[in-house]
């Protein structure tokens, strides 16, 4: 996607636009070829009017005056976008902003539109309106690339679907001959990895207990939304609990709530029986919660600082980094040498900046740092994302070893190989809730895919699942919503997509957009 829009260069391969082979050095090249992109996060200046935003950076096309306005109105009318050029962007809603973004791209002469998760910020009615706009565009002969995690939307709007998993094309299908279920299978992979046969190290000593955790957040529109609700789980000594789910369903917020970066509205978090529900991040870390953040550049490292300072980050109050208020630089450096050696961080020395290491080596350093403080619980969010295969295998091995020694791990990952290969138990997160649980040894891809898209809830048994209503529509029709949502009992595969409170009233798939802020 970034390559198509010229933001990144491909290592190899070709792109053909309009039958001609092209290569893009920058977004400007892509625009010149008629490819435009609407980003998930809008790139608009709030204090300018719609017209000014559209014209900004494309003044050469039609100037900034009456000619530009004529063109804007023209496009707006042609595709039924209904854009008002004189309103300030800060005064219009999300859906309108999105239309402005689309118009912006069309104004620059794009014939191919890339929409990145366009529905993430929209409510159901707005989604319908967007789809109407897209059909309009299609009718006018434009090409739309629609990127989404939501199966129902893809199926209803697309003429052709390409499933990409872990950077490669898995399949190309047409909506007419595919069901949501098949699509879900394609998304999660048809062959699930078999968990390695190994002895369970799970004990019955609870380490991390989370009960009734609730968190609400305010989204871009100032609407308070439920981000996490009714999160309950216990991780025991020697247990790895995996959380599966499509990204943006509250996993990041769950991690932040456990780490104390976000303060939950309700619920309890205890480690080893000590209540840490509202403790500071530092106290939690001192209490033995190790943390491998999802975004290591933003949350795990000081990129412009040397490795040994990065070794101190997050554990500056502990030996060997400090004694009392005083830093013990010599000890910290010596220990960094040890981490570099033991965790095989490939670096010429500990004085180079963290930024100069590769992703895998950065991650090995972070992992080594966290493990060096003998955590009781390790919160690992996508621990092998953007990491080379060698480092990945190493990190997996080390998590397994630590688990044998009694470490409790909360593993959040989008990589099912990782989840199934490492976890002792699996939970599925959907719209801020833990909707299903499963045994990694018996789970099937259909079940996992179904639960990840909110189709099934409860205990995924893994055996007698072949007779489940496979063609249950992704989109709950109004009649379904009116039904009192049955409390999904264990092994009940037919539970409705949406939990009890069906707040949405539109026919399309979404109700409240939990966790997509």
């Amino acid at each position: 996607m970034k390559i198509l829009y010229g933001m990144q260069k491909p290592d190899e391969g070709t792109i053909a636009a309009g039958g001609e082979q092209v290569s893009f050095g920058s977004p400007a090249d892509a625009i010149a070829r008629g490819i435009g992109m609407v980003h998930q996060h809008f790139m608009l200046a709030d204090n300018l009017t719609v017209q000014e935003n559209i014209v900004l950076g494309a003044e050469k096309l039609h100037g900034i005056g009456a000619a530009a306005r004529r063109r804007i109105t023209e496009i707006s009318d042609a595709y039924g976008l209904g854009v008002r050029p004189d309103v300030l962007v800060e005064e219009i809603g999300v859906a309108d902003r999105q239309r402005v973004e689309i118009l912006k791209v069309l104004y620059r002469g794009a014939r191919t539109l890339i929409l990145d998760e366009p529905t993430a910020v929209l409510v159901p009615q707005e989604v319908d309106a967007l789809f109407a706009n897209l059909r309009e565009l299609k009718a006018e002969g434009l090409t739309v690339i629609f990127i989404s995690h939501k199966l129902g939307e893809v199926l209803s709007v697309a003429d052709e679907i390409t499933v990409i998993r872990r950077g490669t094309t898995v399949a190309s299908v047409t909506p007419a001959e595919t069901t949501p279920k098949q699509l879900a299978e394609l998304m999660v992979g048809s062959e699930l990895p078999v968990p390695e046969t190994r002895e369970s190290t799970v004990t019955d000593v609870p380490v991390l207990e989370v009960a009734g955790l609730h968190l609400s957040g305010t989204d871009a529109d100032g609407v308070v939304r439920e981000v996490l609700a009714d999160i309950d789980f216990t991780i025991h000594r020697g247990e790895v609990m995996g959380i599966a789910g499509v990204e943006g369903n509250g996993q990041a917020e769950l991690v932040e709530a456990i780490m104390g970066i976000r303060d939950p509205d309700g619920g309890r978090i205890t480690v080893d029986g000590d209540d840490l529900s509202h403790a500071s991040t530092r106290r939690r870390r001192e209490h033995g919660i190790g943390y491998i953040p999802e975004d290591r550049h933003r949350h795990g490292l000081l990129l412009s600082a040397p490795l040994w300072e990065n070794r101190m980050l997050g554990h500056v109050t502990e030996r060997p980094n400090s004694r009392g208020q005083r830093l013990t630089l010599g000890d910290a450096k010596a220990d960094t040498e040890r981490i570099v050696r033991e965790y095989d961080v490939r670096t010429p020395g500990i004085n180079v900046t963290a930024a100069s290491l590769s992703g895998g080596n950065q991650q090995k350093l972070i992992f080594g740092r966290e493990m060096s403080h003998h955590p009781k619980v390790l919160i690992a969010a996508h621990p092998t994302r953007g990491v080379d295969v060698g480092a990945q295998a190493q990190i997996w091995d080390q998590i397994r070893e630590a688990r044998i020694e009694g470490l409790a791990v909360l593993l959040i990952s989008a990589d099912l190989d990782e989840l199934i290969g490492l976890s002792d138990s699996l939970r599925v997160m959907y719209r801020g809730r833990l909707v299903a649980d499963a045994d990694p040894a018996t789970i099937t891809p259909e079940e996992l895919g179904g639960a990840m898209t909110g189709e099934t809830t409860g205990r995924l048994s893994g055996h007698d699942s072949t007779d489940t209503p496979a063609d249950r529509p992704e989109q709950a029709d109004p009649a379904d919503q009116a039904d009192p949502a049955d409390q999904a009992g264990p092994a009940d595969q037919a539970a409705p997509a949406d939990p009890a409170e069906g707040t949405g009233d539109g026919p399309s798939s979404g109700t409240a957009q939990g966790g997509t802020a």
């Binding site: 795990g300 490292l301 000081l302 500056v316 109050t317 400090s322 010429p348 500990i350 100069s356």
Partner: protein, 419 residues
């Protein structure tokens, strides 16, 4: 799979030992495992051996490029400006140098540099965590004013009264800066805006109290606070060509404290971590909001000392002729000194030197304004060249790391092939 990986640290161990000519053996006690690490190697060897170590050469190269580049650029630009305005730059430099190095000038320069240095340290504390404290100017004036009022009202012995005056100045400075820190942490107001506004408010506050019958008295045209008693003056060091202010020990102490606090304490680490990446600092357990307030308090407390050399060594009171603008100079000097305790000292001396010689230039027929031009050019060249060198260095380092690891990987491959 894992076997060749485990080999790597061992195989790379041999390489630096060859490169550094056996320097590594020395100081490191852990022997085999520790010694081969290139980072640890320089600790043992002598200077000549260190110079042969490629990593040390690299450090030296990066360390020297920036200041040399900055000096060269600044020199060329100043020459161009002076030539363009019809002045002979070399004669001017000669004249400045001759005058600036007389003993009397040296004493003047050192005395002038004391408040400049304190001001720079105050600004640097903010810089290290990405806070731009433009309010040092207001902070030190408000602090000096109230310190002068307290000093003028008390008549205790110097041993007691001087610490009271210093403490008053630091507390007032800290509180004044703390307002901006509080607003930033709690309301998210940019400290740039609030500190500038607090400068004005501080000026108005002083203006209100600096009135006959309020907190001040009149002496001809000067309205000032009551004089502090003779015993409360700081000591001076007589050189025969004028006296060096004893408050230089305060500046030195502030410099050492700054170095120790930021480089050697947990607090300093937290502060710097926030400066490098507040998101990473937050995730690591630093309360960024608390840090904002505390660092503004520290910055303000040091700013409070800026007025002390003048008050305790020179005027003995705060009048409407009390020096102003030192806070802004502190920003330039902190930039010039790269927030480094020694670098800022050199920069403060350079600034004082330029001021001293500026008046003289005017006297011998040059435009005095050229000094302001020089100061501007120097700051810009330093800031730009350091930034350029930093980026270049980062890219270079990434390349070197990449090349070294690639070489190591190749070596590994051949080892694997043999085995």
């Amino acid at each position: 799979m894992s076997h060749p990986e485990n080999e790597t640290p061992r195989s790379d161990g041999e390489k630096p030992a060859v490169g550094s000519g056996g320097t590594g053996g020395g100081g490191t006690a852990t022997g085999t495992t520790e010694a081969p690490r290139p980072g640890a190697a320089p600790s043992g060897g002598g200077l000549t051996a260190r110079l042969k170590d490629p990593r040390f050469q690299e450090k030296l190269l990066l360390g020297l490029t920036a200041p040399l580049l900055a000096l060269a650029t600044a020199f060329v630009l100043i020459c161009l400006v002076m030539t363009a305005t019809g002045q002979n730059p070399f004669q001017a430099f000669q004249s400045m140098f001759d005058y600036g190095t007389t003993e009397r000038s040296q004493v003047w320069i050192v005395n002038k540099a004391i408040p400049y240095y304190l001001s720079a340290v105050a600004v640097a504390v903010g810089f290290r965590m990405n806070l731009f404290n433009i309010g040092v100017d207001g902070q030190y004036q408000v602090a000096a004013f109230f310190a002068a009022v307290v000093g003028g009202a008390l008549t205790l012995s110097g041993v007691v009264q001087i610490p009271i005056i210093l403490l008053t100045a630091m507390v007032v400075g800290a509180l004044w800066a703390g307002i901006a820190g509080y607003l930033k942490a709690v309301r998210g107001v940019s400290e740039v805006i609030t500190t500038i506004m607090l400068n004005s408010i501080g000026g108005a506050l002083i203006g209100y109290f600096l009135h006959e019958g309020r907190l001040a008295e009149r002496n001809q045209n000067i309205v000032h606070t009551p004089d502090i008693p003779e015993s409360s003056f700081f000591f001076t060091i007589d050189t025969g060509n004028g006296a060096i202010y004893g408050t230089i020990v305060i500046a030195a102490a502030a410099g050492v404290a700054y170095w120790y606090l930021l480089g050697r304490t947990r607090f300093g680490f937290d502060l710097r971590a926030v400066g490098v990446s507040d998101s990473a600092a937050e995730a690591s357990g630093v309360s960024v909001k608390r840090m904002v307030i505390v660092s503004m308090l520290v910055s303000g407390a040091i700013a409070g000392l800026v007025g002390m050399p003048t008050l305790l060594n020179d005027t003995g009171n705060f009048g409407n002729n009390f020096p102003s603008g030192i806070g802004f100079m502190g920003i330039a000097i902190a930039l010039l000194g790269r927030n480094h305790p020694v670098g800022m000292a050199l920069a403060a001396l350079l600034w004082a030197f330029l001021e001293r010689t500026g008046g003289h230039l005017n006297f011998v027929g040059y435009y005095q304004e050229i000094i302001g031009v020089m100061q501007g050019i120097i700051v810009l060249s330093v800031v730009i060249s350091y930034e350029l060198v930093r980026r270049w260095g980062l890219r270079r380092q990434q390349r070197i790391v990449g090349a070294e690891l690639a070489a190591r990987a190749r070596k590994n491959d051949t080892v694997e092939g043999v085995a």
